[in-house]
Symmetry: C2
Subunit: 451 residues, 2 copies
């Protein structure tokens, strides 16, 4: 509940109201679109009602302060009647009515001096940790009690920022003519080879969970030219690190006629625009969770894979051309750049069958990095079906499984390119979170399937 | 490509350009954000370049008209040189340059008189059907060649409308204070009993694909109050009808403190707003695909289950209280209402364990219908954990499997309610499509897993 809303008094006489049958008292909930209700003019002394859950209680000799949370906004209640106070426990859901007072000391710029309190949903057990604690309990204890953990002010802010980020990304892509699509998550064949897939039985057939919308988004450039999807992807990666999940949310973009440079320009604009948007819409939240202020240079740097192994060689880490860059290599180079940057022109042998070669050695490809963390991977794609067939064979993949996918390539597939970007990883970078599990509502890894 | 865009001439001298290496000719693609490029002032005779795929060719004696599609917009090329024309085949991707001419006869209000054509990606096989045919081939043939099928003008329009619809739904929910979330699709226990679930192996554990975000969205009302998600749901329904998919896209909404009436009011506003938005943003597309003009009354009608079985009884269809309404019943009643409407107060025995009873017989629940088609189902939820446990036992469900889900209910779960809405079904209603497979990009059913 923000002061903006309180400054628009509800014309409650015209709103159909429902008696709150949950609490069977004089409180009324109006049509649910605003919970804080102020009667008459918004000014000191106006009558106000509110419902929410108790974040904290600070008792003083003659007066107590209760912070309640109403749709992710904190509102301060002032209570000077100990009889009222004794019903209020941290984590309970309460309704309160009283009079409004403007004050710069309270969150949102006002407080409610309470003369009536009703408990709507009482906390029934002692929670395993205090949501206001400064010493965070272990992440496993918190994830076991995730809904409670999400009540922590940090998490209310973090997932509000997450939604603002996703909204901003969509708006940017709409503005560039991209069509939002949904592709199937149950698929018949692996998009990048058979590794890391969850198999399932689809009626009487073998199927898999999609590890990316790769093949579908490529096909869709044929009718729609520019498409994007934000949805779940699934990777059966039994390794347990701070930056991998078994189920995560991916931004997938694909566009006809886009070159590698076009794609990197698009990402450059997208990241720049997202950061700018969320620091406009949610700066108070970002400050509260101590998000790093990420500066962006005029244009994100681009280094070829070759340049990077040269640099690493000069810094006592010898990499043979064609070998992948390891965690330690990326840490070293990433701390040198200390920013977002692209690694381009990856060797052919490190890339999947659908990536367009630039010459006999390297590809039209890129990874977007923040320091040592890979945020996005993309490039131009092969659009000639005979080359795709050849590449599938060379990669040891069964061409027959890709039969359906290859069909459209014979009917005028445009040259195209695209990228996938990990939403959780981008959010880690933006918020400074050090464990990817913190930025997923219900993370999934090799050990965790519940809640 | 719309005339708006052509009327904003590209200041191409300041845009970094990339030689189009795919076609290795004098065509240039600029940074990919606009494909139609007009040099200098936009006026008759201005030089123009365009890339896209060939929708249709109409040859006349001295001049031919080629419609090409550029980012889902049709542009007419005029060609009076038979040498140029002979390279052009339907479904190929071409580039063309020439001079601009304004004319009300062409789509978008202009045409390009072509003096140079290059083939970018040539159609390599005769397609199994003509995308401009008036006699549609069977849906199975079309789905087997879905990317080609999606090139049909009808589908370009339909999936553009779909994206506009989803965008409008999100904007409406943002405006009502709802937070967009993503919940896991791999889950440990069934949300509504064990039926109709796809099982999978999650590393060494048994898991399922989520048939709805039900339990997660309920939990999330505790920290966030109002949440929504638009994402995939999975139902192992082997029956093959015109309105069921095994994987579909669901809008899921859940809100603390919302009563049944609040929820129906929210849906009423959401449907009204969506229809109004898409008829504003996409009326030309809706007219082209012959979408029905759905009128909406001042307020959507609400009928109780009891009223409906009474009405059916008077119309020679006897239903015993507690029996579900069948297809024939809904067709009869639906044709009587002939509009959107709600069926409320369903019997307890027809509803899952988490639905709030109103009395000993019926629940605070509703279905949103359009004629005989169920679009949405929702209601108030039980928020008392001891009642939930009792209901689980009564439904014969293993309480132990819901152990993690029940945890938050002890820590002050607010009263809440919500609904799920089938995006494909809403789109069927809006567009008048008679088979749900038409409105899913890559439909999944008991017989179809590819492409």
């Amino acid at each position: 509940m923000i002061i903006d809303e309180i400054l628009r008094p509800t014309n409650h006489s015209t709103v159909p109201e429902t008696i709150n049958k949950f609490i069977k008292i004089s409180f009324k909930i109006h049509n649910g679109f605003k919970l804080l209700k102020v009667y008459g003019k918004v000014e000191d002394g106006a009558k106000a009602e509110i419902m929410g859950w108790v974040l904290s209680i600070r008792e003083q000799k003659t007066v107590s302060f209760v912070i309640i949370v109403d749709n992710r906004k904190q509102v301060q209640l002032v209570i000077n009647n100990t009889k009222l106070l004794k019903h209020i426990r941290q984590n309970s859901v309460i309704g309160a009515s009283g009079t409004l007072k403007k004050t710069s000391k309270a969150p949102g710029g006002f407080e409610i001096h309470v003369n009536e309190v009703r408990v709507i949903s009482k906390v029934k057990k002692d929670p395993p940790f205090n949501i206001m604690t400064k010493d965070l309990p272990s992440i496993d204890l918190r994830l076991d009690n995730r809904a409670l953990d999400l009540r922590r002010p940090y998490n209310l802010d973090l997932f509000t920022i997450r939604a603002a980020l996703i909204r901003s990304i969509r708006e940017y892509l709409y503005s560039k003519g991209f069509l939002e699509v949904n592709t199937p998550k149950i698929i018949a064949s692996a998009s990048e080879g058979g590794a890391a897939l969850f198999p399932l039985m689809y009626y009487d057939k073998q199927a898999f969970l999609a590890q990316s919308p790769q093949l579908y988004k490529e096909e869709l450039t044929m009718p729609f030219e520019r498409v994007f999807e934000i949805g779940p992807i699934f990777r059966a990666e039994p390794s347990r690190t701070l930056k991998h999940l078994s189920e995560s949310v991916s931004l997938d973009v694909e566009a006809a006629f886009f070159t590698n440079d076009d794609l990197m320009n698009l990402i450059d604009g997208l990241v720049r625009n997202s950061l700018s948007d969320i620091w406009k819409s949610s700066s108070d939240l970002l400050v509260r969770i101590k998000a790093p202020k990420l500066g962006l240079p005029e244009r994100l740097s681009r280094f070829t894979y070759g340049q990077i192994i040269d640099w690493l060689g000069k810094n006592d880490r010898k990499i043979n051309f064609g070998d992948d860059l390891g965690q330690k290599d990326l840490e070293l180079f990433g701390s040198h750049v200390n920013d977002f940057y692209f690694i381009t022109e990856w060797p052919i042998k490190l890339k999947p069958f659908y990536i367009q070669p630039k010459d006999n050695e390297v590809t039209f490809s890129f990874d977007l990095m923040y320091r040592e963390l890979e945020l996005s991977s993309g490039g131009e794609r092969v659009h000639d079906p005979s080359i795709l067939r050849k590449n599938l064979k060379a990669a040891g993949l069964p061409v027959k499984s890709f039969r359906h996918h290859l069909i459209p390539y014979y009917y005028g597939m445009p040259p195209h390119g695209g990228f996938g970007m990990g939403v959780e990883r981008l959010l880690m970078t933006i918020t400074g979170a050090d464990n990817i599990r913190e930025v997923s509502l219900y993370p999934r890894d090799v050990r965790r399937l519940s809640p």
